[in-house]
């Protein structure tokens, strides 16, 4: 059975990759999540999640050039695929459907 919905961390990481754009790699993705969503994520966890997403075909990755400020190590850049975008939309629809019709969450009362 294929998983249609993303977990909260998977969704956050995919959205962060989209927000960061072409320069999306471990550091910038973790920073984007922390800066925008206020959630601190370990970089190793970002890579582990992205590896899982890549296995499912939701992201692609490629290695950049080695740079001196990284001790001569290359960055691994990520990009969300078309399948990844569709998965984000599916998850968004499911969450929105759950959200609708709840009087407790209407306006700022919650």
């Amino acid at each position: 059975m294929s998983r249609d919905l993303l977990t909260d961390l998977e969704l956050m990481i995919l959205l962060a990759v989209l927000r960061v754009g072409e320069s999306a790699y471990g550091v910038t993705i973790a920073r984007e999540i922390e800066g925008t969503a206020g959630r601190s994520v370990a970089i190793a966890l970002v890579y582990a999640t992205l590896e899982r997403l890549q296995e499912r075909g939701l992201v692609t990755s490629w290695m950049g050039d080695p740079t001196p400020e990284r001790g001569g190590r290359a960055k691994r850049f990520f990009e969300v695929t078309g399948k990844g975008i569709r998965q984000i939309k599916t998850t968004q629809s499911a969450l929105t459907a759950l959200w609708k019709g709840l009087p407790e969450l209407r306006g700022n009362e919650a």
Binding site: Y25, G26, V27, A42, I43, L45, A48, T67, G71
Partner: protein
């Protein structure tokens, strides 16, 4: 240019070598002002994540290396640790009778088992790490987790098991291997 200390980086490269870009990312953040404590925390998470990925990917290999670790630890304890600790305990009891009276016979006799247990545990951990060089963190985490489970099990067992265990007896070694400091283990064990 700030350079992170060598130990965390070596640990990361040795125990969780899966993601080559990760070391560069951590170095980059450290040079931008993150603390050494942050770096160490990231390394610990990376080792943990790598370990669980390895366990999920190769459960059979992890079970095998854990079994090897236990075999080494029990063998060490049965052949070297136990006789040496027992003799040392008696020697201490005779040499320092005042201390024995102060802390109690069980504790005084069990004290030499702690370094013996530590030696056996370190030796077994080294064998486990060496027997799985591609992802040593997975096997080490599984082995240490199994030791912790046995420790808890032994702690419960020595409280509820009413009969003394004759020595030599596999149960005695499992109890003492799992629970190095235990008056309970001492009281539920008797030498024949």
């Amino acid at each position: 240019m700030r350079t992170p200390t060598r130990l965390p980086k070596t640990l990361l490269q040795t125990l969780a070598p899966g993601e080559p870009a990760l070391v560069g990312d951590l170095d980059e953040e450290y040079r931008r002002g993150k603390s050494g404590f942050w770096y160490l925390g990231q390394v610990v998470v990376a080792i943990g994540v790598g370990a669980f990925k390895g366990i999920a990917a190769h459960p059979g290999r992890v079970v095998l290396t854990t079994a090897v670790g236990w075999a080494v630890m029990l063998l060490f304890f049965a052949t070297i640790g136990d006789p040496l600790s027992f003799d040392t305990g008696y020697w201490l009891a005779i040499r320092f009778p005042d201390f024995e009276a102060l802390v109690g016979r069980n504790v005084w006799m069990a004290a030499p088992y702690v370094p013996a247990w530590l030696c056996g545990f370190c030796l077994a951990s080294a064998v486990v790490a060496l027997s799985d060089r591609s992802r040593p963190a997975s096997s080490l985490v599984a082995f240490i987790a199994s030791v912790l489970v046995v420790m808890c099990g032994a702690a419960i067992m020595v409280r509820v098991y009413p009969h003394p265990v004759r020595v030599p007896h596999p149960l005695f070694y499992v109890i003492f291997t799992g629970l190095p400091i235990s008056g309970g283990a001492g009281s539920s064990s008797s030498r024949s």
